[in-house]
């Protein structure tokens, strides 16, 4: 219970966390200090964490709210990234502006979601899971093989940074920010943070709306929900489309921030699984849990692993001159990650910051069943 109380107290830290996220780019000494130890820009890494958070929130709509196991979210992430690539790179004649690309990427991914979902959403749990997994693989191989359109494994690049409206461009130097996306990570940082906050606000409202309650009803008991007059397919399909749209949005931001769509292998099954593990780790169906899960997992992957690797290498290089296979943390990463998942599901199956509804179910199940009987 102690751990639970501790986490409950952490719950009050959301406002400070938000403030910290907002002012972090201006804490230059902190950034420099972290840079000295990690040899990477922590702020730039945070930008990617924001993007993955949008992706995870999208997945959470399907898995957390609606209770459908989705193993192919990376496909929609990739579709968003490639739509952005096609609409923005110089090799194509479109070259739309950033905002319409963002919108069209989300829309395109949502359409793909509807195309996949409409025929397959009536499948039972694990059959649906394998269909989404299959779709993920099909998308990845299609992106890789349609070289004429997607440039194969090289990916589409360079994707130009978004344009800055002139009043903002005049304002930025007074804040000490260079008005150029390539020169200052902080522009992407605030862009992604802004979109993330918008998505959180949207989902926070949707969660408590008629639609959000319908999703939860479908998750809890499809038959009962149908008996209450809900149209199951409509609820599932809209959840699926919304999740695909958010994933597409995240993909578009990802491609723009990276300046490239990356290769198709950036959108493989491992990515889907990592994001899924993040939302389950954080707590299914809970916005704050999802954010915490993404921060921990992506942070572990992108920040902690290279950091420990660097430290170990510096520590051992004097003796051997080259990196020791057994003393390289990346070679143990999967083990740590796997053990963390196993222990977490063993001791806290509802996730670190669960939605109160799910927490209640898991711990008072006996009482509820007895009461019903």
């Amino acid at each position: 219970m102690n751990g639970h109380r501790l986490l409950a107290r952490c719950d009050n830290l959301w406002a400070p966390c938000l403030v910290l996220a907002l002012v972090y780019p201006f804490l230059t000494p902190l950034e420099n200090l972290l840079f000295r130890y990690t040899e990477m820009s922590f702020g730039a890494q945070l930008t990617y964490i924001f993007i993955y958070a949008i992706l995870a929130l999208g997945l959470n709509v399907v898995v957390g709210y609606t209770g459908l196991l989705h193993l192919g979210i990376a496909a929609f992430f990739g579709i968003g990234a490639y739509i952005t690539g096609i609409l923005r790179v110089a090799a194509y004649p479109f070259q739309l502006d950033f905002l319409s690309t963002l919108f069209l990427s989300a829309l395109g991914a949502a359409l793909a979601g509807v195309c996949l979902g409409a025929p397959t959403l009536r499948l039972r749990g694990d059959y649906l899971a394998i269909v989404t997994l299959g779709f993920g693989e099909v998308t990845r191989f299609t992106l890789r093989n349609l070289e004429a359109i997607t440039a194969g494994t090289r990916g589409l690049n360079p994707i130009p940074p978004p344009g800055i409206p002139s009043p903002l461009a005049r304002l930025l130097p007074t804040l000490g920010i260079a008005p150029d996306f390539a020169l200052d990570y902080r522009l992407f940082y605030y862009l992604c943070l802004g979109v993330l906050l918008l998505v959180i606000w949207l989902l926070g409202n949707l969660e408590r709306s008629r639609w959000g309650r319908a999703c939860v009803a479908v998750r809890e008991d499809e038959l009962a929900a149908a008996c209450m007059g809900l149209r199951i397919m409509k609820v599932k399909l809209s959840a699926f489309a919304l999740s695909a749209a958010l994933a597409g949005l995240a993909g578009s931001l990802y491609a723009t921030t990276l300046g490239s769509t990356a290769g198709p292998d950036a959108f493989d099954f491992a990515r889907s699984i990592t994001i899924l593990a993040a939302i389950i780790l954080g707590g299914l169906g809970s916005l704050r849990g999802t954010l915490l899960g993404v921060f921990l997992l992506v942070g572990f992957d992108n920040v902690l692993t290279p950091l420990v690797d660097g430290l170990l290498q510096r520590w051992t290089a004097g003796a051997t001159g080259s990196a020791n296979f057994w003393l390289t943390f990346s070679n143990w990463k999967l083990m740590v990650f796997g053990l963390a998942l196993i222990l977490m599901t063993r001791f806290r199956p509802e996730g670190l910051l669960p939605s109160c509804r799910i927490q209640h179910e898991l711990h008072d199940e006996g009482a509820i069943v007895e009461g019903a009987a």
Partner: protein, 319 residues
């Protein structure tokens, strides 16, 4: 009869022979997928868990076979000795994989039997990552070449248009008896009846005096042993092993299990053969790089029209 058919086709010209060759390759690799798919489908049938770690148990089996061959110098034996070596591998590796699979069940899955399905799935993913990392530490990040223990010349004569080697025969000679034995065990023995009863309703099975946990353990042992056998013949047949092979082949095997109707044993075999054939034919006629995409497109198409797989029975939602 099959041999005469092969000979006839090999003489009749190239298109027919090519098709026959693809079908032969497809059935051979398909029976491998089937063997692996059986482990998925049996575990799913009994505790409704996608055992993500199954493919990695298979991978570690290959690594054990590799280490045994390298350490004991099994590839330097004379031909008769090599058959003995294969027999040895086919005993040691399945025992290892069965033990491994059982320990995973006891350590990781058993404490979670009553937890929500998604939590079990995540722990399975975790177990898979841990095993994959063990494979990485064991064999290193690069692919390894598994030495050829079997002669590779064509049994139908050096000029025949269809190739059938001792390796192909070995795959069939191992997988077919294993599947037949499994079918007999599940259908006629007491253990098999207990397994089917547990799959149908664990609570009722417990009430009838069946030791459910022991039955689940037996399922993991049998599944693991089959993964072990599959890993040996895979290594002897494909010759390349890496720590990531469990994931890729596990994906195909699981797809095969779902395609046939998950939880359904003949379905897993049929699914494995279908996947093997689709892969081989599409590599031959469409192009290697579209193979994986095509397999999954066909999977999705089949599930759209037969939502419970090829042989799966339509289950009604319980109220």
């Amino acid at each position: 009869m099959a041999a005469s058919l092969l000979l006839a086709a090999s003489e009749s010209g190239s298109t027919g022979a090519l098709l026959l060759q693809y079908c032969l390759d497809g059935l051979t690799s398909g029976s491998l997928f089937a063997l692996l798919a059986l482990g998925y489908t049996m575990v799913y049938g009994i505790i409704e868990l996608i055992n993500f770690a199954h493919g990695d148990v298979f991978m570690l089996g290959s690594f054990l076979a590799y280490t045994l061959v390298a350490r004991l110098g099994l590839d330097r034996l004379d031909p008769a000795g090599r058959w003995g070596a294969i027999a040895l591998l086919l005993v040691v590796v399945p025992v290892f994989c069965a033990t491994l699979n059982l320990s995973i069940d006891r350590l990781v899955y058993k404490p979670l039997r009553k937890a929500p399905k998604l939590a079990q799935l995540v722990s399975a993913i975790g177990a898979s990552f841990v095993l994959m990392n063990i494979g990485l530490l064991w064999g290193g990040p690069a692919d390894r070449n598994f030495p050829a223990l079997l002669p590779q010349q064509n049994l139908l004569g050096p000029d025949a248009a269809v190739r059938l080697t001792t390796q192909d025969l070995m795959v069939i000679l191992v997988t077919l008896p294993v599947m037949i034995v499994l079918a007999i065990v599940v259908k006629y023995t007491q253990l098999g009846r207990a397994m089917r009863a547990t799959a149908q309703d664990p609570t009722a099975a417990r009430l009838m005096g069946i030791h459910v946990d022991r039955v689940i353990g037996a399922t993991f042992v049998i599944g693991g042993a089959m993964a072990g056998a599959a890993s040996v013949i895979y290594s002897l047949y494909i010759h390349t092993i890496s720590f990531q092979m469990g994931f890729q082949n596990g994906l195909y095997a699981f797809t095969a299990a779902v395609l046939g109707g998950i939880g359904n044993i003949p379905g897993a075999v049929l699914g494995g053969l279908v996947i093997g054939l689709v892969r081989s034919l599409s590599s031959g006629y469409v192009g290697e790089r579209w193979t994986s995409a095509l397999v999954f497109v066909i999977l999705i198409a089949i599930l759209v029209f037969r939502p419970s797989g090829l042989l799966g029975s339509r289950t009604r939602e319980k109220v």
